[in-house]
Every structure is written in structure tokens, then in C-alpha cells.
Symmetry: C2
Subunit: 238 residues, 2 copies
DNA sequence: TCCTAATGGTCTAGTCTCAGTCCATTGACT
DNA sequence: AGTCAATGGACTGAGACTAGACCATTAGGA
């Protein structure tokens, strides 16, 4: 009944899994780190007020404050009191701790998962009825990548925008999850300008297919795009 | 910054989401109900011992016991003491409570999500290097559907087997999640023999494509299969 | 027949988390 | 200069949850 390395995945493991990832404090820290790592808030930006964060994350304000204090200690956040005060992002989150030994084992897991949800999102976005504002949003996120000083957060924002366009909150969650996991691995390997150029061309291709309402082509463009970093990761870590 | 009906999905909502779905007791009840609803344990089967459930679900044994007591009260479970005792499934879980009013709003969400992860799983399974035991397992699950007295759990077991074959635990989790949500909706509408026949033919098609190692054909077979229940749901609930 | 191991049943002390309240600080607006 | 609303900061009491120990029951095996 338990998970044994090398054993086939069992459905029971998927259902009888931990119902909570850790204590409330740890999960709050993770949630805040994700918002920084994925570029949802950029350095200099203000986080929502503590009371709103507490309600969003479903934890008490005391717990949110503990999490913020921990990240402030680590130098990622800083708080200012008073009206127009708040909690601000100081710097991009430091690279994740050195990769755990089980990285290689879970590498394929993450890559397969990411491929499934991101390709699904691209196809769904191409199928969804997008209004002008939606389309504009996608285009902006794509263009923002080209000028971004820090490429990876901008890249994540584009991919999240694609997931948003799918119209499914569940799928958006899954894509965000997949990207956090993939980024943890990608942080361990270098980012070359030449890869960025290539990636940019592929982004334009994905965008074109979505705007044209062509699901199959959006999916395969996304698959090709992901294959790039997948190969990179397999090379460095596999 | 907050989620407003009709507003475009925002990435911040995907990242700053509740870190825990409810209290430990509720989540434990949900987890146990899922194992029954998805047919991971059948009527008459024994659940893992309380101590193991506690460790699996990441909650205390006291909480597991509360959850079991609640489900025993409802008539779904029964416990016996002593060695070779345990907690046993009495009957299939009763239909979910009447559908919440926001059902229609989330219907598309669930359907899009399910399509993405299940099609992704089918394609990944076709790509994965399956050994003889893996293939045999898939074939058995497909055949089991044809003879099952209760179709839906058997159907779920086949779909979960496909996700298992993908080799990605993350994807397996996502498929299990999607199915639980979809089943909650499907429980509200009738199941016709003629739909079952059709579904069975499609299962065989999916299986064939996976065994043949053809990802594209596995994906489109799965998409067609899902479209059937999607249309049914849209008709009854949309 | 007795022993033993595996299981559910019970209890306790301690920690974590929460909801709510009130205080302190700040800067824009009047 | 004064006011005020929005924010972070601090505290408390109550409840949830946990870890661990111990008890009670059962059926198979020595």
C-alpha cells in the first residue's frame, strides 16, 4: 500500500495523500515566495495588506505576519507602517537551496506534468472565446518578455497569461504549480541569450495560434517550446 | 485584486490561494470519501489501519478517527476491533448533496481542467515505456469496466490506470482531482446503458492507442471520450 | 489452552492556529 | 496644522490538532 521506489504508481497513493502540505506557517511562506518567484509581484511592488493576504490564503493574520517576518529576516520583504505603507518586495528571491538528491527521480514527473497542463492550457486558450481585452493582455505579456531585465519571471507571466486565457481556474492553478516546480529545477542551470531568442520566437508562435483560435497548433507550439527546456534539464540533471 | 465574477482570471488568484482547503477533519472525510467514490476501495474491502491512514493523510490519528466515525454514522464504514479487524467499506457513497448554485459557473472550469489533464495523461501514457505488467494492468482495468455492476467507479479506475501509466505522480494526482470534481457533477444526471456501450468502445480505442505507443491518437481518443460526458453535463446543467 | 501481534478505543498534556480587539504610525487631503 | 483612513504591530482567550502512551478486543499460532 505504500509508495516504494521503482514500483508502479498506485491510485491509492494519489487519493490517500497528505491533506495538508505542512503547517500553516510554512505554507504561507511558500505562497509568498511563489508570488515573488513567478513574478506576480516584482521588486519594489507592494503585496496586498496583511488582512487581505490572511483572507486570501485562508490563514490567520498572525500566521501571515510570521511568514512575512521570516521573509523580511531573509531580506526578501520589508514593511512600512502607516497609510500607503505596506509590505514590499525587496529583491528577487534567492535561488532555491541546492537540489535535493531525489531531483532526478522527480524530474520526469515534473516535466510530464508540465507538458500536460501547459499544452492543455494552450489548446483551451485557443478554443476559448477571448474578447479584445483578453487578447491585448496576452500580447502585452508576450512583448514584456522581450524587454524584461529578468527573463524567467516575465516568461512565467506569459505562460500564466495563457493559462488565464483558458478560462479555467483549476487549470491556472495547475500551471502555476507546474511552473513553480519547473523553475526550482531551472534555477540550477544557466540561462543563455541564445535560448532566450529561441524561446521568444516560440512564444510568438504560441500567441499566434491562440489568437487564430487554432487549438492543435497552439498545443504543438507549446509542446515544442517546453521541449527546449525539458531537454536542457535532462541534460544538466538527468 | 479579488476574484470578481465575470472578471478575467488573474495570476495572483492562482498563487495567493487558500493554503488549506478546510479543517483537518473535513479534509480527512473528503479524502476517505474519495477513496470510496473513485473505487479505490470497493464495498467489503478494508481500509488501511487508522495509524497508517493518519500517516498517509498527514493528520493525527484522533482526526482520522473522527472522520471514520462521521462516515460510520452515515453508514458508509464500519469498524471491527482485534487483529484482522479494521475499518470496512459498507456501501458505495451516497450521491453528493444537491448541486450548489454556483455549479454552472464552475462547470466549464472542471470540464476544461479535466480535458487538459486527462488528454495529457493519455498522451504521456502512450509515450511512456510500459513493461508487460503495466500493459496487463491497463487491459485488466478496461475489461473490468465491461462487467462492473457499478459502472462509474470502474470507469474511474480505468482512467486512473491511464494516469498511472503516464509515470507522473503529479499528473495522477491532477487526474484524480479532476475526476472527483467531474463525478460530483455526473452524480446528478442519469447513466444510460447506451452511453455505457459507447463509452466502452471509446475505452478500447484509448487503450489501443496507448499500447501502440501513439500519443496523438491516444489524446484525440481521450478527447472524444470526454466530450461525450461533457456534452451530457452541459445539457443537463449548463 | 495460552500467547502474541495487530487492530480499534481512550485519555492527556502540550502546541499551533484562529478570531477578535486595540494600539501605533504614516501621509494625503482639507 | 489638523484630520482621518489605511496600514503594520501587539496581545489575549478559545478551540483545534497533535503526539504519545496506554487499554480492550480479536483471531491465529505455538
Amino acid at each position: 500500500m505504500s509508495t516504494v521506489p521503482g514500483r508502479r504508481l498506485a491510485a491509492a497513493d494519489a487519493v490517500l495523500r497528505p491533506v495538508r502540505a505542512g503547517n500553516a506557517f510554512e505554507e504561507a511562506v511558500e505562497a509568498l515566495l511563489r508570488t515573488i518567484r513567478l513574478g506576480v509581484v516584482s521588486p519594489g511592488d507592494r503585496l496586498p495588506p496583511e488582512r487581505e493576504l490572511a483572507s486570501r490564503l485562508g490563514v490567520s493574520r498572525a500566521t501571515v505576519r510570521e511568514a512575512i517576518a521570516a521573509l523580511a529576516d531573509a531580506g526578501h520583504l520589508t514593511s512600512r507602517r502607516g497609510r500607503y505603507g505596506g509590505t514590499f518586495v525587496v529583491s528577487p528571491a534567492a535561488p532555491t537551496a541546492p537540489l535535493a538528491p531525489e531531483t532526478a527521480a522527480s524530474l520526469e514527473d515534473v516535466l510530464v506534468f508540465r507538458e500536460a497542463v501547459e499544452c492543455g492550457a494552450a489548446a483551451a486558450a485557443a478554443r476559448a472565446p477571448l474578447d479584445e481585452a483578453d487578447k491585448q493582455h496576452l500580447v502585452e505579456r508576450q512583448k514584456a518578455c522581450a524587454q524584461a531585465a529578468d527573463y524567467r519571471p516575465a516568461d512565467s507571466r506569459f505562460h500564466l497569461a495563457v493559462a488565464e486565457a483558458s478560462g479555467s481556474a483549476l487549470l491556472l492553478n495547475a500551471v502555476a504549480d507546474a511552473r513553480v516546480r519547473a523553475n526550482e529545477l531551472l534555477d540550477a542551470i544557466p540561462l543563455l541569450p541564445r535560448n532566450i531568442d529561441h524561446s521568444e520566437r516560440q512564444h510568438r508562435g504560441i500567441l499566434r495560434a491562440i489568437l487564430a483560435g487554432n487549438p492543435d497548433s497552439a498545443r504543438s507550439a507549446m509542446a515544442e517550446h517546453l521541449e527546449g527546456t525539458a531537454a536542457l534539464l535532462r541534460g544538466f540533471l538527468g
